[in-house]
Symmetry: C2
């Protein structure tokens, strides 16, 4: 259950309204934790009810926009959670299931899906590399910045690895069977 803590972190980094957070979950934070606006609003309501954040009306804005900031209790809760033990990520990789199924009931058109997926990962790799060039040259010396850089580099390695995997699987599937 990391969404509330991802929200607290984001709001400490910069306070803002639900819609702004939704935007950030489509970009920076969203690269390692995804959430829809429905989830975000629901969770903000819970955090506010629990007294961890506080929202104040933003006037001169559309609708009934409210900016949230983290209260001391929210900071404390975030610190508590950060120090908590963590179980390894449960892995659920649909493509691995598909490949194993392909070995049983193939051949199918899995090759097309792999090509699309490879392109997706190459695109995202490019995006990350652009961010790295823009934000982390020269490499930062500040610890917070170095942590963020590390997270980004993990994303870069991940995308590179996934793209390469798709390409290997494509090569295997399109090789003549024997």
């Amino acid at each position: 259950m990391s969404l509330p803590h991802a929200l607290l972190t984001a709001l400490i980094e910069r306070p803002g309204a639900g819609s702004e957070l939704a935007g950030r979950f489509d970009r920076s934070i969203g690269y390692f934790w995804q959430a829809t606006h429905q989830q975000i609003y629901r969770e903000l309501a819970r955090l506010e009810a629990a007294g961890l954040i506080e929202g104040t009306a933003v006037d001169g804005a559309r609708g009934r926009k409210r900016a949230f900031r983290v209260l001391p209790a929210g900071r404390a809760e975030l610190a508590r959670w950060t120090a908590e033990r963590q179980e390894p990520l449960p892995i659920r990789d649909e493509m691995m299931v598909r490949l194993r199924a392909e070995a049983m009931v193939g051949p199918t058109t899995l090759l097309n899906t792999l090509a699309e997926l490879a392109q997706h990962h190459r695109d995202r790799l490019k995006t990350y590399q652009d961010i790295e060039k823009r934000d982390f040259t020269p490499p930062p010396t500040d610890k917070g910045q170095r942590l963020r850089h590390l997270v980004l580099k993990a994303g870069i390695e991940y995308e590179r690895h996934r793209a390469a995997f798709c390409e290997q699987a494509m090569a295997l599937l399109s090789s003549p069977s024997e």
Copy 2:
């Protein structure tokens, strides 16, 4: 929604009872798709109700054990699903959230958690490498076997990558701040 298809694949590879499948989801299949026995029994009941699999009582077994095998309709459904378009995996990486939180409210005891996690990934890496040595030397020429080998190699790369990441994060967190 890949669990039913993971089950169909597993049952084509080798028919068996729910408890046997639960065992396989703790080993081979479980390395890329996890499921508890509750999920497995629920899903088997659905697949049977949909006419995709068939269960027959195993006598001489404990309890009311039933062996399931995949019916032609099940094979057809698996082939249909395998050829389906696939969205990229949604990413939800709790450790990345923690690292970014650490940058805001740290330092915490995150270092301990990272050490545990690194050990977990090194252990699993060792397991995979042992499986590779046992099952895939010499490298297979059969296409199905090569596909399985590819899936295993992806697992190996994943664990290696995660372990290295944890070690880098530990080095960064324990370096003197400036």
